[in-house]
Structure formats: C-alpha cells, structure tokens
C-alpha cells in the first residue's frame, strides 16, 4: 500500500505491507531509531510517538493508519538545532539512565505540557503512567517534566511580571 505520512514536518511516502506496525514503519522504513520497542503488548510506552499531536503507542497501530497524518518522534522534538525544553530538562534533572524509555517519556511529557505548563506531581505521574521506566524510579522524570514546564512559561512570557514562579 502506498502511504504518505508527515514525519517531523517532512512529507514521506512509502509502499508498505498493510500489517507493518507503525513503530516498524518509523524505525525500519524511515530509519528513525529513536523510537524503541520494549514490550509488544502496549504496556511500556517505549514506542510512544505523537500522531497528530496525541501520544500513541506506535507498536499498537499499523503504519497505514498514519496515512495522511502527521507523526512526531523524538528526532522531531528539537527545532532548528535548539533542544526542546523537555530535552534540556531531562539532562539537567538526571531524568534518564539507560535512555531506552526516554524518547517515549519526553513525548508524553511534552504533550502534557502543551495542556498545562504547571502540572502537579500527580498530574505528571498520571500522564506518564503508561510509560515504564526500569532505571530511574520516576522521581527525576517527574522533576524534569515540571522543570520543563517552568522553562516553557519563562520562554512564553518574557515581559509580563509574575508569569514565572
């Protein structure tokens, strides 16, 4: 089947088997290996990408379901060589160890921060509860997402006083 998918802002076409999973389309056909596979049962979230903005588990969708839609992967988080605040915050707050869950965590976190840049700890924990991490115990992931939210507030509102904090 011929499909057209906008991947990280660039339109790509591919001829794929209908059964090809979205995660394999991304990794094998488009060559973007930042999206990982950790389970095959929709439990771990290592394969999380954003499909038209919504975080989805790409191991549980077929590539053809992305036809005509747009996909953002970890490789598309940075813009013009500038890290997304969540990427900077994950490094700053030690929100990653082996790095395998990190792309999925950051994409889920970034989606949350588009709804609110000031999530509570519970908001964050709930939002990422579909993403497993075996290394960090989540403490610093939560911190990183909240720190990224604060950075985004500062970015958005440079002049009005009191926007930060």
């Amino acid at each position: 089947m011929q499909i057209t998918v906008t991947v990280n802002g660039t339109e790509r076409t591919a001829d794929v088997e209908p059964r090809l999973l979205l995660v394999h389309l991304i990794r094998e056909v488009f060559g973007l290996t930042g999206t990982h596979v950790g389970c095959d049962t929709t439990n771990c979230g290592a394969c999380t990408v954003r499909l038209d903005g919504t975080p989805v588990k790409s191991c549980t969708l077929f590539g053809v379901q992305a036809d005509g839609r747009s996909v953002t992967t970890v490789e598309g988080l940075a813009t013009n060589g500038q890290l997304h605040p969540i990427q900077a915050a994950f490094k700053e707050e030690h929100g990653l160890q082996c790095g395998f869950c990190t792309p999925g965590m950051m994409l889920t976190g970034a989606a949350l921060l588009e709804k609110t840049t000031d999530p509570t700890e519970d908001d964050v924990r709930w939002a990422i509860s579909g993403n497993l991490c075996r290394c960090t115990g989540y403490m610093n992931i939560v911190k990183a997402i909240q720190a990224a939210g604060r950075a985004m507030q500062d970015e958005k509102a440079p002049e009005p006083a009191g926007a930060a904090s």
Binding site: E17, R19, L20, R27, L32, T33, G34, T35, H36, V37, G38, C39, D40, T41, N43, C44, A46, T73, V74, E75, L77, A78, L83, Q87, A88, F90, K91, E92, H94, L96, Q97, C98, G99, F100, C101, T102, P103, M106, V124, R125, W126, I128, S129, G130, N131, L132, C133, R134, C135, T136, G137, Y138, M139, N140, I141, V142
Partner: protein, 787 residues
C-alpha cells in the same frame, strides 16, 4: 605560569551526564538500531511444554516459505558441535533442543529470513511432535525419590540435585542455640522475579567468510568474558572475535549470561555468510532469560532474653531451573549468601544450601544484586524484625543493640568475610530522625486503638560488592579483575578505555570524574570508551555493583601511573629534580615556589614534543585491578505504610533511605541509582512475580501479567547519606547500584507485617498483593468470627 583556579569537577561533583546528549536526541545506538547491508533476521521457535520428549521436527514447510533462507534445528547445530553450550556455572545448556525440552519457552528451532515478519510466519509452519512428560515445577518435588530426572542428558546425573554447600561453623552454632533463652524462626520464600530491563536481549552477528572476522553486537553486560566463552565454545580464534556491547537499555543482571539466541545467530551467520539479527520479544525475554531468586529460606535466630544475638542458622533450597546457569563466582554455589549475618555481631552462624533442577527457565542471575546478597539481606532483616516482636522489643532497639560497632571494623564475620568499614548506628539513627520514628510509633498506637493499621518497617542492610580478590573470585576460571587504559593526547585531552560496560549507570561521566580527580583534566575532556572488546582492556564486566569498586579503582590507579610519568616530565620542564615537584589537581609546581608550575596540559604536550632524554614519548598506561577485598556498602531504610483492614490494600506513606556507599563520585548519579533500586525493591515486594502452574506454564510472560511499578504507584523517596570511605579502595568508593534493591524489599514487607504484628501475623510471602494481605488478616486473630 600560574593556572587559573578553575575548579576541577572531580569526585563529589554532580556533573551532568555526558551520555545524555545522544539519548535525549534519540541518537543512542542500541542493538536493534544496528543495520548492516544484506542483514537477515532470525526468530526462535520455543517449546510450548515444560517437559517433553521431541519425537520429530519437520521444517520442510517453513523452509519452503518464500523469503526464508534457512531453518536451524538442534540436529544441524549438533553437526557443528554446537547443540550444547557451557553455562556460567560450568553446567551445560541446550542451544537448540535435540532430545527433550526442559522448560516452557526453551529454544527448539530458528528461522532465518529476509524479513522479521517472514521469519515469524515461518515459525508457525514448523511441525514439532512432542511427547509430554511430567513437569517438575518445585524444587521440593524435584528432590523427591521417583521424581522424573530432568537432566538425563548428563551421564552421572541420577536425580535432580545439583549442589550442596555449607558455610560457617555448625558446631559453634549448635552450641549457641543450646545456650539460647529464645529462638525465633522464619520460613519464607523469595519468589522468582525477572529483571526485565526495558530493552530485551538481542544481537547482530556478522561473520565475514573471507576474513574469518566475527563481529557481534550484543546486549551484554560482560563483553570480554563472552568473547572468551565464544572462542572456547565455537572454536573461533579469539583475536578474530569482536564483541560490541552498544548502548544497552538496562541490564540488572539479565544481560550477563550467554543465551542460545546469541549462539544460533552467530552460527547462522557463519553458515550463511551474511549478518544475522536476532531481537527477543518481551515474552521471550520473560520466559526464557535470566530469572532471579526463587529461593526457599528458613532462618533461625538464637537470642538471649535481653536481645543479644548468639547465633544464626539458615537453610536454603534454590530452584535453579533446567540448566544451572547461576551467575556466581565458581567457588560459591549460592554466591555471597553467607553475608546473611548482615549488620549484626553474631558469634556463630551456619548456612546450608542445596540446589535443584526443575522444569523452569534457568535462573539465579543476580538481579540488581551481588550474587544472592538480596536473599540474604531479606532473610536476616525479616528475622530480626520478627525476633523483636517475640522479645517485646522495638525492632529498632534490637538492631541498635546488636549492630557491629564502629570500632570493630575491619570486622571478621562468623562466615569469614572481613567487612571493610561501617557505622551502622549513625545511618540507622539518621534514618529514624528523618522519619520521625518515635512519633510514628506513637501514632501507630493511636491508630490501632481506632482500628486502623499503620506499620513501620526497617531494614539495616549490609551489602557486599566488588567481586573480587583473585584468590577467591573467578568465573569459569577467569579472575574477577578489571582493567582501565588511559591515554593523554598532546592537547591534554584524554581517552579512558574500560573493561566494564554501562547499561545506564553513567560510566562515561563518573569514570571521567575519577580521572579528573587524579589528574586534573576536566571530565568533559576525558572521553570514556567501553563495550568494544577490540578497543578496551580485558575484564569481567558490569554486574554485582563491581564497576566502581574494581574498574573505578583501576581508573584511579592508571591515572596515578600516568601522573608518575607526568611528574618526571614536569620536573624536566621546570628544571628541578623530580622530588622537588609537587602535584595538585591539574598542575605540577616546584615545592616551596607554587608559582613555578606547569599544567597537566603543558606536560601532556611536552610528552610528545619535549620529553627528557631516556624517557619514552607519550603519556599513557594500563592497569588491571585486583581488589584486596570486597567493599561493604550499608544503610538503613524505613518505610511507613497504611493497610486497609477490609481489603488488604496497602499504601506507602513514607520511604526514608539512608545509604552509605563510601565516597560518592557523582552524588546526582548515586541518588538516581538509589531511586531506581528502591523502585525495583518496591516492585518485588508488591507486584513483580513470575510463577508457574502445575504443568510448568509460565504465568507472567508479558507486562500485562508481570506487573512492574509505574510512576503512579511508585512511592516518593526521601534520601539521606552518611559517608564511611572504604579504606582499601583508592578513592574510598564502595559501589551503589544495587544497595537499594538489596535493602528495600525487607523494609517494605516488614512495614506491612508491622502493621499486622499485633494480630499475630509474622509472614506473608512476596509479592504482598492485596489479596495475600487480606488473607493474612482473615487468618489472624482479627479475622476471628467476632472481628
């Protein structure tokens, strides 16, 4: 030429991790990211039965499927003498089954195809005729007379018994028990758990038929040891084998053993002359690779009425699965379990252990643990807590009374370990203070009066890591030493090559900090390389928290060697005698004239441009470290829980963890390690369970059944630290990656037991699911009809 006083970010600095830059961009290279021209894909057919004879295997239909290149069976492997391989416990393991299958999920055949989807399709076309046999799923059954013999492939194996092992002094211990006012015992089971790193295992094997070169990318925590094993098993010349452990998505012990998939993929690449990739699916990872624990334990304490501990007995039965593949130093059949005397001053102790084969996947890897110390720590900490109830003492007081005292270090334990250093009282008191222990005890009283269940669990563990001194520690004869190689380039930038392999611990940063500490080169100027056997010194790898104690020490030592030569060159540059040169981080100066100085960078440049006559050019060295002793991190963990008396559900209110891992190289990374370990300890205590039905079917073969803690249920952790340096480690560090997994399960379980202790509850086997806790309440005095 005085240098600017820029602070060198050596030991003790929370340097941000160098490795993160690639991971946050999705630019890591994990094994599944390796793609080679002409690469084929392999999938493995696994046994649906736990125990069955193979009558026949018909691969003709699978072989005929378009896109399939080869179907590999045990018979084909046998033709190349590769149907069996050695395990790290010097047993043998079937690579592909020829005679029988011995656990559900065992490797039976493999398909190599142009595409991974086709390989999977072809698996369904392989026809295997099995004759099911009785499955032996517990070690107790395994050791009964008349139980089916699982390992009938081994000529002299007439039953399912693998080993008997003892430690300590039986006579002295019996005497201690005879003199006791009171004995307390605990029968408990540490169930099977799986490390389940987020990335499964896999490899890409590339054997070049023209050159004989074998390059194998592999998810391995121990690439050098694996290279040697491959050379011995496959008869390949070792210089032609290159094992590359690329970025690894977590290991936790799961990636120490050699798995059949690696061997089959390598053989397939050899036979076909093309690269072959094999990546496990999650269910394959959970049902067939490195389990941990599965230990039946009975412990007994001999005590005086005032709480003085006199003696300890432990008897153990290990379920090893169908092949004995424990990751253990050769001489120690239950690893370091005999550290079971823990943090207490026991005059006598005796440990008896037996191991048995069962029809389950081979187990016994050290899951975020140093060779069975987790089981040991769990047993003693549970026992001590229970003893306090029998004595009518506060569990904290009983501990404080019996701790080894600071002035007793170095302390020789009843089972022969020499603890390097410790101050257990200080760590325990700090934890109690942080938690508000005494107030919580009062609150517990009040809660009980109101029919509420509140519990405080304590665990004051002693870890034992950094195996180990060459006299006692080897794996398959290979001494457990590790190397580090350091090269300083003319511009003063360095490359450090390590024999250990990171799986998330942050070696690229912390080891650079050790060099920074010793030589004054900033960590960002030290590139750390690891995981590639062609380009790193030999060593046994990363597990059992051995990286810092062994390779970290090697790094400090090689830095000091390099510094010696640098001092010579500095003397030459400063035109003084070597004895007159003094070093401080980053600069060499003339004693008494601190302004006359050369930086390490000046010296590095001179090492290639202006070195003294009679000296070789260059500034580099290599060091293999043979640790004089193990290191003994310790700490006290306190957990407060609330238990719902009607449902058995329990919630963690507080977790306070005070750790002493000696000198902390990078405090940020240490805390990250502790968070992770505490979470795994919580998971093991509450939800992680791999179990089997009577037919040997694995229950818990995916993440829907094998529950791992998510961010939602994971507790928040409050950390504290004390620092008692290791006296024998060059920088005083002890290692930390596993302390929290070792110490915390007992703290969580003790907390729940403590909430129910007044009802007479003394044991619930892990994982403490709500239903098990509810059952315990029902069977206790509270569950009596009136309640």
């Amino acid at each position: 030429m005085a240098t600017e006083a820029t602070e060198i970010r050596g030991v003790g600095h929370s340097v941000k991790r160098k490795e993160d830059d690639r991971f946050i961009r999705g630019k890591g290279t994990y094994v599944d990211d390796v793609k080679l021209p002409g690469m084929l894909h392999m999938a493995i057919l696994r046994s649906p039965f736990a125990h069955a004879r193979i009558r026949s295997i018909d691969t003709s239909k699978a072989g005929a499927l378009p896109g399939v290149i080869a179907v590999v069976t045990g018979e084909l492997m046998a033709q190349h003498k590769l149907a069996w391989m050695p395990t790290i416990s010097a047993d043998t393991q079937a690579v592909l089954a020829t005679d029988k299958v011995r656990f559900q999920g065992q490797e039976v055949a493999a398909v190599v195809a142009e595409d991974p989807y086709i390989a999977k399709d072809a698996l369904e076309l392989i026809e295997v005729d099995y004759e099911p046999l009785e499955a032996v799923v517990t070690p107790q059954r395994a050791l009964e007379a008349g139980a089916p013999v699982i390992r009938d492939d081994k000529e002299d194996q007439k039953d399912n018994h693998i080993f008997h092992w003892e430690s300590g002094d039986k006579e002295a211990t019996d005497k201690a028990f005879a003199q006791a006012d009171l004995t307390v015992s605990l029968d408990t089971f540490y169930p099977r758990s799986h490390p389940a790193p987020l990335e499964t295992c896999g490899c890409v094997a590339d054997l070049n038929p023209a050159t004989g070169q074998a390059t194998i990318w592999m998810t391995s925590q121990a690439p050098h040891a694996i290279r040697t094993v491959f050379a011995l098993v496959a008869g390949l010349p070792e210089e032609n084998i290159r094992i590359i452990s690329p970025d690894i998505g977590g290991g936790f012990g799961n990636k120490v053993p050699v798995y059949p998939g690696y061997v089959v993929a390598t053989a397939a690449s050899l036979l076909l002359g093309r690269p072959v990739k094999w990546i496990e699916e999650r269910s394959e990872n959970l049902i067939s690779t490195g389990f941990a624990r599965d230990f039946y334990m009975k412990g007994e304490l001999a005590l005086k009425r005032d709480g003085t501990m006199l003696g300890l007995r432990a008897s153990l039965l290990a379920d090893e699965g169908a092949f004995h593949a424990d990751a253990q130093p050769s001489k120690l059949k239950v690893g370091l379990f005999h550290i079971v005397t823990g943090s207490y001053d026991f005059p006598a102790a005796h440990v008896v252990a037996d191991g048995a084969y069962t029809n389950k996947a081979p187990g016994g890897v050290a899951y975020r643990c140093s060779f069975r110390v987790t089981e040991a720590s769990y047993l003693i900490e549970r026992l001590v807590q229970n003893a306090a109830y029998e004595l009518g003492m506060d569990p904290a007081d009983l501990r404080l009374k019996n701790f080894i005292k600071p002035d007793q270090f170095p302390y020789r334990s009843a089972t022969g370990f020499v603890y390097d250093s410790g101050d257990y009282h200080r760590a325990a008191k700090l934890a109690m203070e942080k938690l508000g222990y005494d107030e919580l005890r009062k609150e517990q009283e009040r809660a009980r009066d109101e029919g509420k269940l509140l519990g405080v669990g304590m665990a004051s563990f002693t870890e034992i890591v950094g195996a180990g001194p060459s006299a006692d520690y080897d794996i398959l004869g290979l001494k457990m030493n590790d190397g580090a190689e350091l090269r300083i380039h003319p511009t003063g930038k360095a490359i450090l090559k390590l024999s250990v392999q990171t799986q998330g611990q942050g070696h690229e940063t912390t080891f650079a900090q050790i060099v920074a500490e010793e030589l004054g080169i900033q960590p960002e100027d030290v590139k750390v390389m690891h995981g590639d056997t062609d380009n790193t010194p030999y060593g046994l790898g990363t597990y059992a928290s051995r990286s810092t104690p062994v390779s970290g020490a090697a790094t400090a030592m090689v830095s000091r060697k390099v510094r010696e030569k640098a001092t010579k060159i500095a003397a030459h540059l400063l035109e003084v005698a070597e004895e007159d040169v003094q070093f401080e981080k980053g600069r060499f100066f003339v004693k008494g004239a601190p302004d006359r100085a050369k930086t390490i960078q000046d010296v590095a440049f001179a090492a290639y441009t202006n070195f003294p006559a009679g000296t070789e050019a260059g500034l580099e060295g290599v060091h293999y470290y043979d640790p004089p002793n193990l290191t003994f991190p310790f700490g006290t963990y306190l957990v407060a829980v609330e238990v719902d008396p009607d449902t058995g559900e329990w919630n963690v209110r507080r977790v306070v963890a005070v750790d002493d891992c000696g000198v902390r190289i990078n405090p940020m990374i240490v805390e990250g390690q502790l968070h992770g370990g505490l979470t795994e300890g919580f998971g093991i205590a509450k939800m992680q369970l791999i179990t089997f039905d009577e037919a040997g079917n694995c229950i818990g073969s995916n993440f829907m059944d094998y529950l791992l803690p998510t961010a939602w249920e994971t507790p928040r952790f409050e950390l504290g630290e004390t620092v008692t340096p290791s006296p024998h480690h060059p920088i005083g560090a002890k290692g930390v990656g596993e302390s929290a997994t070792v110490g915390s399960p007992a703290a969580f379980v003790n907390a729940v037991i403590d909430a129910l202790a007044h009802l007479g509850v003394r044991n619930i086997d892990m994982p403490l699911t709500s239903s098990k806790v509810w059952e315990a309440i029902q069977q206790s005095s509270a569950g009596a009809p009136a309640g």
